[in-house]
Symmetry: C2
Subunit: 237 residues, 2 copies
């Protein structure tokens, strides 16, 4: 796609409330436009590109602020304290009821997606949200990258396989890498934010051929707190 | 337990409708009583044991017939044709609605429980029935044994782990081995019988890190037919 196409799509998604996807498109479009600007020699055109870049950058910043605000406002809807060795706390039990037709975009912030069991938790998270949110079209995952190790290879393979699978279901999955990430949260575009102290990884391992290997409701948990917020203003869809 | 204790429990379960468990107890009790009979020298006592053995054998046979009848009667409640490569046919979708508080015993007849994926399907079947049937106390599994191979070792390990796990949930799991078994069916003590052409194993494998690895509703299926029967007279609980 050209810079113009990226930006046209960014504006379209911006207006229809697909903020996460829109932000990504603005960023890509702005980069492409900047390349055009650099190679342009005509002074008038250069100036025009410059003003356009500023304009889109401003808009992208506004969206970023809006997305950021989602997590810092809102009323507390539910508080769940998961006790050590407790059971009955599968993802669906914890936040399944907030996954509805109003969820078109999801931002998952989870620093640890590198060990096999963590990658599996991501797959299971995706299985749940895809099965519950009929109009889901975009998932952004922010995590900490682990370059240059064998774990990195697993991470890359898993991310690629999952991206392709979701693409076949008309859902875009995008990964962002951040070194500073420490918060763990799931931001839904219907206005709900789910904060789990241990992120997706609050389960103890299950013994082989025992209940809990597949149904997480049977799994014993590690102690953690879940806070669920709701803010109507957070709603983007 | 002594012969008398086994038989006392057998009668108790027989009366309260736990037929499968009762049958197992009758059989064990009769064997134990037969040993006593053999070693007894007093003619009068020998005669008494003999009459008792006949009596319990007759009752066990009656229960066996009753259990056998469950599958051969009843009205067809539902017919599901699963198409090749179809999705949305996880166990819960197919027969979840028949798993209710009325199910106290389940007889699963599944000839193939030897490969890893087949053993996993058994674990997942147990996860589902345990989560749905609150008063479940007994599961009997009849399958074909595979003595003396490395698969046999896996089978034994899996059966043992699963038995122990269910025991900790107050559910007795018993395995029977039969060479002639070919039918595949799930007999519920609330009167429903679920017959799946391919038994528990009608799923195609899912790619690694793709949707369907854990949630079978996303799995592509092999073509098969599901027939569900109901007969109020089959009800034993």
């Amino acid at each position: 796609m050209s810079a113009a196409e990226y930006l046209r799509k960014a504006v379209e998604y911006d207006v229809t409330g697909r903020k996460l996807e829109s932000l990504k498109l603005y960023e890509t479009g702005i980069s492409a436009l900047f390349e055009t600007y650099k190679s342009e020699t005509d002074a008038a055109k250069k100036k025009y590109f410059q003003s356009k870049i500023s304009e889109y950058m401003k808009r992208a910043e506004e969206i970023k602020v809006k997305i950021k605000e989602r997590q810092s406002r809102g009323e507390m809807k539910e508080k769940i304290h998961i006790l050590a060795n407790g059971t009955g706390y599968g993802y669906e039990q914890i936040f399944g009821k907030y996954l509805d037709d109003g969820v078109k975009e999801i931002a998952l912030e989870e620093p640890y997606l590198r060990e096999y069991y963590q990658l599996i938790n991501l797959v299971r998270f995706c299985e749940l949200v895809v099965s519950k949110c009929r109009f889901l079209s975009y998932i952004s995952v922010t995590t900490v990258a682990i370059p240059g190790t064998s774990q990195h290879h697993d991470q890359k393979t898993a991310f690629q396989a999952l991206t392709n699978d979701l693409k076949s279901r008309n859902i875009t999955l995008k990964f962002d890498f951040s070194e500073q990430l420490h918060d763990r949260q799931i931001i839904l575009s219907n206005g709900y934010v789910i904060k789990i102290g241990r992120g997706l990884h609050y389960f103890l391992p299950a013994d082989k051929f025992c209940l809990g290997q597949y149904n997480y409701d049977f799994r014993k948990c590690k102690e953690t707190n879940v806070d669920i917020f709701y803010c109507p203003e957070n709603k983007t869809t």
